[in-house]
């Protein structure tokens, strides 16, 4: 498992927006990707990097409450002003990338980062063979 600094993640993900200046030296080893905040609260370990397509302020609240290290917002969506303010207040770095969820996760995995989920839920429906 690799240890990657937030500043390095920004380069890896071709971050397009200027980063907030704090927390860039934070180190990340595990990642949780998804748009369900309850899922993040249930299974992301403290210190995880959150990769999500959501842009509302609750993303930052979730990261703060769950003790996550940084947030990557995929898909090139603009941030709400409320989200930027919340991130500044919580001292959590936010990286915006134009890459898709799939591409961003692929690059993070290739860089040596690994899954930050504490438990993987059983699939409810059997997959077709």
């Amino acid at each position: 498992v690799a240890i990657v600094k937030v500043l390095e993640l920004a380069r890896l993900l071709e971050a397009k927006a200027p980063l907030r200046t704090h927390g860039l030296g934070a180190e990340v080893t595990v990642v949780h990707a998804g748009d369900q905040m309850s899922e993040v609260l249930a299974s992301a370990v403290a210190g995880s990097l959150l990769v999500t397509g959501l842009t509302n302020g609750q993303v930052v609240r979730t990261a703060e409450v769950a003790g996550l290290s940084a947030i990557v917002i995929v898909g090139g969506k603009p941030l709400l002003s409320e989200t930027i303010q919340a991130a500044d207040r919580a001292g959590i770095p936010v990286i915006q990338t134009g890459l898709s969820m799939f591409e961003a996760c692929g690059r993070l995995h290739a860089a040596g980062l690994r899954c930050g989920a504490r438990r993987v839920p059983e699939p409810r429906v059997a997959l077709p063979r």
Binding site: G23, A42, A46, N56, Q58, V65, G67, R89, A90, G91
Partner: protein, 332 residues
């Protein structure tokens, strides 16, 4: 830079607030419920009278439970210009009808008004039954009322600070903090959890326990914001050996607790899901975080959820001195 069509340019901040609000509000919250309807076989003359009596500009035309058309004031004018001779509504009504669902976000209705140029949209529930009608004026009126209310609330408190507890009592080694959580206030939801997290940090509570308490408080707060009619209270009690959270509301209550406790079961509307919540995991998350969990609910009366957390280590350390180092120190 874009701004609302036809309106004066507004600053980015204001525009964002209005947009956010349009995503937050459900059509059900902006529509006029139980609209006046008529049958396709009714005479045009009676439709004209209905519009005048009720001061409305459009009437959904129903055949039993089915919506078959809509008669607008423009249709009535066309009929009058053509001579206004006795005719059934069916001959002059507009169809097919553009509609919108009650559980969709108000932004969907705004988009449809822009695309279709109609002046009103009948609102259907999940089963396709007519439950209301919405006009651009309804939406503007509602947005202005909400903005006005929030503006006044903002004036009363310093914005962007964690929610201050309404009461903080400390006696006999018990500290009690009490937050009022507003229904449907998504901008503020989570502020009590953040406040509790910072308080526990200041008290030197173990970081892992603090995290579990904060997560449970956050889910409790979300439930109060999403599912209650009038919000509720979140109470945290900190004792030397235990922390407890209690979320209390006055309704509507949970009809089937077993189902509510089933992971993945949720009654949250789509607009809540679009914000990343309402996946049916909240109560389970709270239970998983706590060392003790109980829930009582009765429809029409309300719900009380209690989660408790053991604090074995706090008794051994003096208050104010961290029991263990915070997990991430770089944020300080």
């Amino acid at each position: 830079m874009s701004h609302p069509p036809g309106g004066p340019p507004v600053s980015d901040g204001e525009f964002t607030k209005i947009q956010e609000l349009l995503y937050e509000l459900a059509v059900a919250e902006v529509m006029t419920p139980r609209p006046v309807t008529a049958r396709a076989s009714d005479p045009m003359e009676s439709a004209k009278a209905l519009m005048r009596t009720h001061r409305i500009s459009g009437i959904p035309i129903a055949d039993g439970p089915d919506l078959v058309g809509i008669l607008s004031v423009e249709d009535v004018i066309r009929w009058l210009e053509a001579g206004g001779e006795a005719a059934c509504i069916e001959a002059w009504m507009t169809r097919p009808v553009h509609t919108v669902r009650a559980d969709e976000a108000a932004i969907q209705a705004v988009t449809k008004f822009g695309r279709t140029r109609v002046g009103r949209l009948p609102v259907l529930d999940e089963a396709g039954v007519l439950v209301g009608i919405v006009t651009p004026g309804d939406i503007i009126g509602r947005v202005l009322r909400v903005l006005d209310r929030r503006y006044r609330v903002d004036e009363r408190r310093v914005q962007d600070q964690p929610l201050e507890p309404q009461e903080a009592l400390s006696e006999g080694g018990v500290m009690r903090v009490h937050y009022q959580v507003a229904a449907r206030d998504f901008e503020r939801a989570g502020a009590a959890a953040t406040g509790i997290k910072r308080l526990l940090g200041r008290l030197g509570v173990d970081a892992a326990v603090t995290r579990r308490v904060s997560i449970a408080a956050y889910e409790a707060e979300m439930n109060l914001a999403i599912h209650t009619d009038r919000g509720g209270q979140l109470i945290a009690e900190i004792r030397p050996d235990e922390i407890s959270l209690e979320a209390i509301d006055e309704g509507p209550g949970i009809p089937d607790l077993d189902r509510a406790m089933t992971e993945g079961f949720s009654t949250a509307p789509d607009w809540v899901r679009a914000l990343g919540f309402g996946a049916g995991m909240g109560l389970n998350n709270m239970k998983r975080c706590g060392d003790g969990f109980s829930i009582r609910s009765s429809p029409g009366e309300g719900t009380v959820v209690r989660v408790s957390f053991n604090l074995p280590s706090l008794t051994e350390s003096a208050p104010g001195i961290p029991v263990s180092a915070p997990l991430s120190a770089q944020g300080r």
